[in-house]
Symmetry: C4
Subunit: 237 residues, 4 copies
């Protein structure tokens, strides 16, 4: 693989996968990051079930957006078709992450959204992070991994959510997916998701009747960081 | 900035911000410490949204007590006006800290005070650490960060609390603020707050009907450390 | 002990015991791993109550499948007869682990199975991980450690479970046992068990009415990794 | 202090205090270990409120069993009179530890004993670890620290407990005390206490109606390690 763009993509995806492990979002082989080159419509993704300690950038598997493995002897992650489905439906994302990180998975298993209970959440996600319904038997039997992607996409449609402002979704009985402009930003979204999921769990245990924060406070925090008149952080020059 | 007093202030504030990260009270850029030079009425505070790894003492932003940025190209923390409001209302404090530390934030999101449930708490805070009401829509729209400070100040007035004996406050749906005689002491108060908030959460989950400890026990512990006849620690010479 | 097969077994068992400590599944001397040489019908197991820091491979105690200590001045783990009972009843296992790892023990103390609440679980264990009944007074008085093994075996019979697809069991009021093809795989099963037990505890606290996942989803995940048409991971050559 | 016995005592007590910090049973100055020389009736204890980083063995304060400071400019721990009370009432103990370790303190704040819910507990403590009543106003006003010791002693009398088989007690609204034959063994008891207190909290949250394990199982586990026919561990030669 001498193509410099794809080599760079593999390196980004490799680093992002390592970061999952370093940040303790995954143990063993629980999780995967992919990235896409939108000009070529090719993604790079972690191979399936290989220990992180034995991976190098060259091992990342290239797969075309329509699902063909390009020039690799390794199987891509078994979740590849879920990633592809998200890249097709969300045209501006550059990276996708799937983990079984502890508290996001706990909420997914409890079939509960990550309610927006405070400004820590509102700083990064514009409202409750949804949890899908449990996948149907039919979808499991048909094409499980692809249908998992469709389930996320349908949940976003049903709830009227914009993937640019809501960069994560819990899949019921399964775990979290997150995305961003790049593999690295998708990992960042996963890290924030895990932190707020942890706070969510214990806030709800302490006060089961707590509601999502009001719209005015959500808007204030989300928009001061991500709105067109954002004043958080430094001026972009 | 060749002024030695302000240089020293910046160094103190820088170190205190690093300590937040080392002690795991913050992840990423979640939190900020400021300090004040009371003779000059100038505070130093962390710049907004800059990674801790890229900060040096010189990057701390100087802001006058009435809110003017002094000699800096960086924006100060977006929470600066909250800090300033506290410095104006609490004339003897020398440092302010805001974090999203886990358990203090959990209680803030649950809209619950940190009840004084034991001597670990009573050794450092003279009674329940209050949680404000949720900020009003009007206050959010007017001047959100300044009004967050006013909300803390009003809560202290309403409850008859003295900021010298109660060095922290939870802001509902948001997170904790703490203060002290110096930036370093404000960080110390934040660390103790987080530890007792953790113990608070689980004590209340185990025994939801538990009450704050009785006044005699609170007085004994707080005053043996902080009262005029304190006998904890070593004689000050 | 100059026999190379038994020397190798001792080394495997020693390394697996160390791994328990490194992975924080045990503190102090809480736990033990054994392995078996099926040709010889000899197991190697950690000696009883000796600090991990003072152990070497040579200290692993060899015991025949019918319970005789072979050539050692050290007592084997007090749980040895439980291990032997499992090796006799489960003829294809090569390693057994007992720990008091936190969350698996918490569920065992609560007398609750580890419900299969998500795909993280379904990827490794084919359904709920059972919890035995509390051991009878008679069994305790008769031959406690051997009877603990029998209790696990009887539980598997009663529930119609196959030890090859369900590589762990909680003993009520006690803690977890796990097994695998080798000492190392038994440790791996213990690690996965602890992770999913942790997620189990908090999922159930958040949603006490949550049920085990449906059979179709369980089959999909377990069989894509462990079934005859498994497609997870890389082709075995 | 050239007396070799007392020098040795100071060293033991110093090391045991450091271990509290290393094992994360204490943060800052939360906690203290003492040891006694029974021939001299002199204890050594950590000085009050001094950072662990600034302590050396020579700083340990010697106090006679009737409470007189011997040859030191430093104040002993403010809890010294509690320690002395325990040494007087429990004539065979050699070390005492007080901490605010997380889960033991949580149970103390919840005014709950550490129920004996499993064999992890039964291996080290012979039954439920008691929690005292809340100390009376009169006792607080009279001689708070001494009366805290008396409260523990009275609780043991009331419940018919033997301090040799029950080496810890929770003080309601306060935290744990533990003891042993030496300062090091008292620290060990504190570590085990914290581990089982953690498991206790979550077991009770999951199954609030869970009862202490039955006497036959308690006897089996405690006595196989600590009874006269103990068979756990290695033969003492």
């Amino acid at each position: 693989m001498s193509d410099p763009d794809l080599k760079k993509l593999k390196e980004e995806v490799f680093k992002a996968n390592l970061k999952l492990l370093e940040e303790k979002l995954v143990i063993f082989t629980f999780g995967n990051v992919s990235g896409i080159n939108r000009k070529r419509n090719i993604i790079a993704i972690k191979p399936s079930g290989v220990d992180y300690s034995r991976l190098s950038p060259a091992d990342m598997v290239l797969v075309s957006l329509d699902g063909k493995i390009i020039d690799s002897d390794l199987n891509p992650s078994s979740d590849t078709r879920t990633h592809l489905q998200l890249y097709r439906a969300f045209p501006e994302i550059g990276g996708v992450v799937h983990t079984h990180s502890r508290y996001a998975t706990i909420l997914a298993q409890a079939c509960m959204p990550v309610r927006c209970l405070g400004t820590t959440h509102a700083d990064y996600f514009y409202g409750d992070i949804p949890c899908t319904d449990v996948i149907s038997d039919e979808a499991i039997r048909k094409d499980y991994e692809k249908e998992t992607g469709s389930l996320i996409i349908d949940t976003f449609k049903r709830l009227g959510l914009d993937y640019k402002f809501m960069k994560a979704c819990l899949v019921a009985s399964h775990g979290p997916f997150a995305w961003g402009n790049s593999p690295d930003e998708a990992v960042f979204a996963s890290l924030i998701l895990e932190e707020i999921a942890m706070q969510n769990c214990f806030t709800r245990l302490l006060n089961p009747s707590i509601k999502s924060i009001k719209a005015v406070l959500l808007d204030k925090h989300y928009l001061r960081k991500h709105g067109k008149d954002a004043y958080y952080g430094q001026k972009k020059s």
